[in-house]
Subunit: 318 residues, 2 copies
């Protein structure tokens, strides 16, 4: 198989990669994620144009975007791209800068799980759930070895499982979605609550002394240093991550759960308490095989790599 | 294809049916569900023995049981059959009364969704979620036209998605599982709470005047009569049913949701408010095709019929 370009449209940045014929990443480029549909077309085109010199000839392009992406490559609705609804991203790219290019537009976490399945932490596994913990939470599913997109392409919106109907308002319009607790936004909120309550002095110190400036990263750093108060907040956060994973494991019975997205850079300080809580929360845990939770091996590039892998199956010159 | 016997082990009764070669139910028999593994073997055997004269010769047998049933037909764990854990039901049946019989043991709701897919409300649909609302809640999944059992056979434990970590204790060991709200037990609890608060006089009247004697059926009858207070409780119950279905639709993106189990006998008085709440709770509902909620067509027999259908694919003389 030849080379391919993949672009992952995240909540804050668009990351593009070039894969060579052996699936190695040989170039990458990133730009900020814009807020509107037309400027998203421009941003994706800019990334592709920047990467094209590194690719051998007219290679296929894959684009991963968050939220509800239908089978035609239209972005129907994304809580973290609220200005872009019912936008025919694939058609707009083909009508303009990517005319004649074999092109796939799919959900970002669907791309990511495919990359981990083909090249990363889920190689050889037939039943895989991937949760990408970033600004929000995305989900990708492989069941019986097959990538699952659902009836309309919308499967895997795992961040929007309501886990507390009285919980915080979610950008999706409801209250208490899992991603309000278990995403980067959730960790930031828990860290600020601890800071404002005066129970996380080291975290506040890392944020320059202002509790309102505390972000999730400050908590992660303090926890990694061994700060006890920070570890307690991290354990509470990990419990929420585990709760949502246990919910999904009850429904899907995966053999493996892969955790990706920016949050995973926290490493064992997050993964270890999450695994412990997950085991205690899984229905019938004492009567079933353990379900390993593992970190994504392709890191922040998983979505872009997966988009490139899926692009190879794009119809020629759409 | 020849005839087959199916037995559905429910929380309170074991219902068996005989299907003829044209999939018509030509006999049925029921006994109470016992509490232990060995007595479950005896009960299933009794049902099969009672039905055998109606079947043509040595027909295959399928058995559906609630909870975590592995690929070998072992019942690992079921919140509503707590005394039967890690019990090798298929092996025990084959070692005794069903020696030499082609035999399948599977999850009850997995059987039910297969029956609705082959013969009932989900004919022609490729992505189907079935929720059986009874004593607890069971779930069956068809994705891309394929029955999904998950990695170990445990997929579809949809009743044990936690929707409120501070909620009521669940027999599974955790708190706030969806089935604490949206099952027959959940309706009974909401009805009693309303009765004890003095806001459901007609419901109490139907229960013989004692609020503690109120059950879900009394509420259903009062709501069907048009009693306003009962309808308000039913709307609250329907909201919880819809919440869990919207959670699952976000993950699975079904084209159709089939509601089965005893609760569905309530009819439109439950289905209509559930559909309305479901639409308002589904992520991005304004930007996606509607997902119809429909009642199971095979009613209380769906699990037994599905077990019989699956039995036809049993290995000969196990």
């Amino acid at each position: 198989m030849g080379g391919a370009i993949g672009v992952d449209v995240g909540g804050t940045k668009c990351l593009g990669v070039v894969l060579d014929r052996d699936d190695a990443v040989i170039a990458e480029h990133r730009v900020a994620t814009p807020a509107s549909g037309p400027s998203l077309v421009a941003a994706v085109s800019e990334v592709v144009a920047a990467l094209r010199p590194s690719a051998a000839g007219q290679v296929p392009v894959g684009v991963g975007v968050p939220g509800l992406v239908d089978h035609s490559g239209m972005l129907r609705f994304a809580p973290h791209l609220r200005a872009v609804t019912d936008f025919a991203l694939r058609d707009e790219l083909l009508a303009g800068p990517l005319a004649g290019v074999p092109l796939v537009v799919d959900n970002d976490a669907t791309c990511a799980v495919w990359a981990e399945h083909r090249l990363g932490a889920a190689r050889g596994a037939s039943h895989v759930l991937m949760a990408t913990l970033g600004t929000g939470i995305g989900g990708g599913l492989i069941l019986d070895g097959r990538l699952q997109r659902g009836s309309h392409g919308f499967a895997g919106e795992i961040g929007h499982v309501v886990v507390d109907p009285q919980g915080p308002q979610c950008p999706c319009g409801r209250q208490g979605c899992w991603e309000r607790y278990a995403s980067g936004s959730g960790l930031g909120r828990m860290a600020r609550e601890a800071a404002e309550a005066g129970v996380a002095p080291r975290v506040v110190e890392l944020a320059g002394g202002d509790p309102e400036e505390v972000r999730g990263e400050h908590l992660t750093v303090a926890a990694a240093e061994g700060d006890q108060e920070a570890r307690e907040v991290m354990a509470r956060f990990a419990w929420w991550v585990a709760l949502g994973l246990a919910n999904l494991a009850a429904v899907l019975d995966p053999e493996l759960i892969v955790l990706g997205g920016g949050m995973i850079e926290a490493g064992p300080v997050l993964l270890e308490p999450t695994s412990a809580s997950f085991h205690s929360l899984l229905e019938g845990a004492a009567h079933r095989p353990a379900v390993p939770l593992v970190a994504a091996q392709l890191g922040a590039r998983a979505g872009a790599i997966g988009a490139a892998l899926l692009a190879r199956s794009a119809p020629a010159a759409g």
